[in-house]
Symmetry: C2
Subunit: 218 residues, 2 copies
DNA sequence: AGCAAATTGTTAATTTTTTAACATATTTTA
DNA sequence: TAAAATATGTTAAAAAATTAACAATTTGCT
């Protein structure tokens, strides 16, 4: 890894896909790949693939291509998956439970060290071997275990209130499934939003557009 | 609504956010808003806001701004939320259950008419008042109820197999939570991917980057 | 009624992103 | 071993997206 100025979000958002693809072909036994082949299989252009990798210094070899293992490993390092993060989950409702049980946190360097909910019925039960605590105990927990990443699976207003409390304990990284716009209130946090309903509405637009296009072509 | 050539994805992906924001301020009783104000609150530029709306003909008034209700309603229509869609959910595991119970389908014109899983223990139970059926009955169901939208909450290989069967019954719209790359196999389907793990890896990159930046500034 | 302030729709400029081109280096083949 | 094929890294061109500028129009105030 060599140069690295300010990488654009467009490039960053493609990295996980490269990573997934390379992991997959590696486990299929593929040892090397060219930008052309990679581009074809991922439906990108070879130019873009080379440009992307060159943001980080380029790790291919002329006439040969890229070593799948080396490339995969470089991207893993670029993504910072090795850096250890301590995460807590806020909200153990349907969404929170799905995220907790479905997402592979460990391969990304994330330890889920606490889960909080205000629903009395859930408190005391466990999820993924982690005990669900009352949100009342949030401060005490944060003081003791110092999480740095919070996964927000609570409604908007709850998210706003909880973030205020978490911010006081230096939690600066958020994976946000709520509609609360964190970035508007805090300028120095890193927030990654997952807005499923926006995604679904985008699909609605495209369906509507497709139906219209089909009706015209008839 | 007037002109509408080919709208770029950049614009389309902003529409749901406008829609959510406008719905919200409308319920707060706000009647009108200017591009400047809208831009400030959504952290965009006024230019971009006006450009975006003008893709669809522009529905503001000089010197006045936009009517919140009219704008909201126009965007609702542009998104095609009124068009009725019949959806089925594939996979009633943790993720499928979260999606089914968490997502507001109806306000987007989507009826969830069927849920399928291969897990014997789930078959026969209900979710959101919809009975969970065996995937064995998929063809029979499709023939009878003609769903046009499928929500994929199953692992990659299952997704591939199920899509093949769904495609045979003219299901062309997919909300895909799996890692199966539908678009690679079918050119005439509309797929909206939700790759939560990619989102989390993107966050990891940004955390790593932030940590590095902070360590340098010290 | 008339004037200042506000605000759009639209055109132009700028910036960012993507794609193409090519010189350079390595591998493969004969 | 020499030539042909392959494929990178990089520079240049093209396309797309964002931002700025401004003329035209409406509102609101006096």
């Amino acid at each position: 890894m060599a140069k690295r100025d300010k990488i654009s979000m467009s490039v960053i958002r493609r990295l996980p896909r490269y990573y997934r693809f390379l992991s997959e072909i590696q486990s299929d036994g593929v040892m090397r790949i060219s930008s052309k082949e990679l581009a074809e299989k991922m439906r990108l252009t070879a130019s873009q693939v080379r440009q992307d990798f060159n943001c980080f210094g380029g790790f291919g070899q002329q006439g040969y291509g890229y070593s799948v293992e080396q490339l995969r490993s470089e991207i893993e390092s670029i993504l910072g998956l090795h850096e250890q993060k301590r995460a807590i989950l806020l909200g153990a409702g349907n969404l929170g439970r799905a995220v907790a049980s479905h997402m592979a946190f460990e391969p990304k360097g994330i330890s889920l060290i606490g889960i909080f909910d205000r629903n009395e019925e859930l408190i005391g039960t466990t999820l993924r071997n982690v005990k669900i605590d009352s949100t009342d105990e949030l401060e005490q927990f944060c003081a003791k275990y110092r999480p740095n990443l919070a996964v927000l699976c609570v409604p908007k207003d709850a998210a706003r209130q909880l973030c205020k409390r978490l911010y006081a304990f230096d939690v600066r990284y958020y994976w946000n499934f709520s509609h609360y716009d964190l970035a508007a209130d805090y300028s120095d946090v890193v927030v990654e939003n997952v807005h499923m309903s926006d995604s679904l509405m985008t699909l609605c637009y495209r369906i509507s557009d497709d139906i219209e296009a089909r009706s015209k072509s008839e």
